[in-house]
Symmetry: C2
Subunit: 368 residues, 2 copies
């Protein structure tokens, strides 16, 4: 078996759990946040810094990598780990989420067709093709190819997407041959409890080593998301890792952890950093604002990251004002560290049965 997942402790006050995921012979403590390296690079952050700031597993995008530079080239390079200089575990998504947001995409039971925006070439993505690409990329955890619907979505449309997602998940399981890789299923069903239940049960029947809750963060509100989580998670046996795709802000992560989620990924910490938004215990700040011109404190005075240990808000503001790349680099490091630290604090709280209190205390300060 390519991964092992053990729950180390369940918080007595909520559904939150602390676990250990063994991937690539490395330990990944959960809850875990995976920085996103869309094109095989976490934007503006070197792998050595990723390691230093505490990242243990990262995500890369099948859609982008298959088109540029192409999975064949990455395979020839010795796989994605070697290509991008990251020795830790990697998870690749299935390409579905990106594809369904493209204009002019055509969906059939067979798969999905679209034209690549850069050069106009016709591309078809099927469950088999997604497995083939992901096998060539060589990530440690790979995702089944699913149909992701937008929000809001009519019941009948969501229902057909669940049926298709189940059929595609079967085909993914059948064509998944690379024993170094662990395949996760993706539960769909929009905001409809019975569809979520059906999707979960059908995927469990097929059998996967982990389950993702997909189709969220597509426009629904936090409250809706929480309802979906609460309606879906009871159908997932505790022994499997649970992964909430593409989410989110710190408050979203804490909400999901409280409901029993283990794994997360999101572009927010790095994307926000590039536009000068930094996370602090008292909420986000825009470093480019004039009020930081003479602010000689670090982004977050209690933070132990490289950026906060060495640079002030005034310096970072100067970098952004001067359009120096270093501004994005240093803020990305801080934001990712902030997310890693949030996971570590969450885990510590779970181990001491005080997660809900921790969450409330964090939010009280963060949203003040």
């Amino acid at each position: 078996m390519a991964i092992q997942f053990k729950i180390q402790h369940e918080d007595s006050s909520c559904r939150a759990r602390a676990g250990s995921l063994t991937v690539r012979n490395q330990q990944v403590s959960t809850p875990v946040f995976m920085p996103v390296g869309t094109a095989g690079a976490v934007r503006a952050v070197m792998p050595s810094e990723l390691k230093r700031l505490g990242a243990t597993i990262i995500l890369a995008n099948t859609y982008h990598l298959s088109l540029k530079p192409g999975e064949g080239l990455i395979q020839k390079a010795g796989g994605l780990h070697k290509f991008m200089g990251w020795e830790g575990p990697i998870l690749t998504d299935s390409g579905g989420y990106q594809v369904f947001s493209l204009p002019g995409v055509k969906i059939s039971d067979e798969g999905v067709s679209f034209r690549y925006e850069v050069d106009g070439r016709a591309v078809t993505l099927t469950p088999e093709r997604s497995m083939e690409i992901q096998s060539a990329l060589g990530a440690d955890i790979i995702m089944a190819f699913d149909e992701c619907v937008s929000y809001p979505c009519e019941y009948e449309v969501a229902k057909r997407a669940v049926e298709r997602t189940t059929q595609w998940a079967k085909r993914c399981g059948q064509s998944h041959k690379n024993s170094n890789q662990t395949l996760f299923g993706i539960i769909q069903g929009s905001v409809f409890p019975d569809l979520r239940k059906r999707s979960a049960e059908q995927l469990l029947d097929i059998g996967f080593e982990g389950f993702s809750i997909g189709g969220l963060s597509v426009g629904e509100r936090l409250q809706k998301m929480n309802v979906v989580l609460e309606e879906t998670i009871p159908f997932l046996p505790k022994r499997y890792p649970r992964y909430l795709m593409g989410i989110g802000l710190p408050e979203d992560l804490l909400n999901a952890i409280e409901r029993g989620l283990d794994m997360f990924d999101c572009v927010i910490p790095t994307r926000y950093a590039r536009s000068a938004s930094a996370f602090t215990n008292r909420g986000k700040i825009r470093l480019i604002h004039k009020e930081y011109r003479r602010d000689f404190y670090p982004i977050e005075p209690n933070c132990r990251c490289y950026t906060c240990q060495n640079f002030t808000r005034a310096y970072l503001r100067h970098l952004f004002v001067s359009k120096e790349i270093l501004g994005a680099m240093l803020t990305s490091i801080h934001n990712l560290y902030f997310y890693q630290d949030l996971m570590k604090q969450s885990r510590d709280a779970i181990l001491e049965n005080r997660f809900s209190r921790f969450k409330q205390a964090f939010l009280d300060q963060y949203q003040s």
Copy 2:
């Protein structure tokens, strides 16, 4: 005295010399290359990486920093070292070189007036003002304010610039009060041997702890530059560090080292890196070229830098093609390492009286 300079060895086959500059209680081995941090940041390179790649002293620009964020703010931040998170020695230029290249600049014996391109405000730079700014910035080595002429330049114009540079150098010496800082003089005189001689002699009379050869790299050819160096250096006592400003390509540095220069700065390694040009022992390569698409070797196979130890040309090409910031970051690290390594190899060769042979062997391969 704020700095100490000792010549450790003079090559028996040429004028090249290996020295040790003690600045800020730190040892800087010469010949030395100083990465340029124009706006208080070496573009796309974190201070921790600068240290790791072997940089011992860096340069920052008085002109840029005085206008943005202003020297007052940097002083308030605790000085430039603290502001930019660099604990090693720093040298600041005088602002002259930048100012004289501005459109609509007005020069008088008093100083220089211009309008700041960003907000149109009127700015006057004088020798006294340059010293005041540099004192507030707090660099370890500071430069006298000089008049830099363009190339080609009429004899009479160059002559008047030398006279003015001498007068301004005197005023810099008189207004230089910060005992933590060491003031260097800048020799002008365009390509006219008698003017270079006069400038050197007059600056020696005033007395400085180091001398820079300015007014080069403004359009003249390498051969002209070498003539100037050979006509100027004999008038400089050996005991002072000699600094060639704003130069240059690897071949320029080796030429200057052979003629007895000790210190260099240039934006080339970082600027070239951002446009995907990388230095190798066989010359520059453009990483974005198609021929590197499936090239799974590092930029320079024998290089020990972080980039070459971990990434291939194919990956770097992919980063540049994908417009990932990481491409500029990793190539900047390599190029700066390449320059640092060139200085180290030069020094080792000098210590063994084989610099000219080393230079020829390097150029034979580099220009092949």
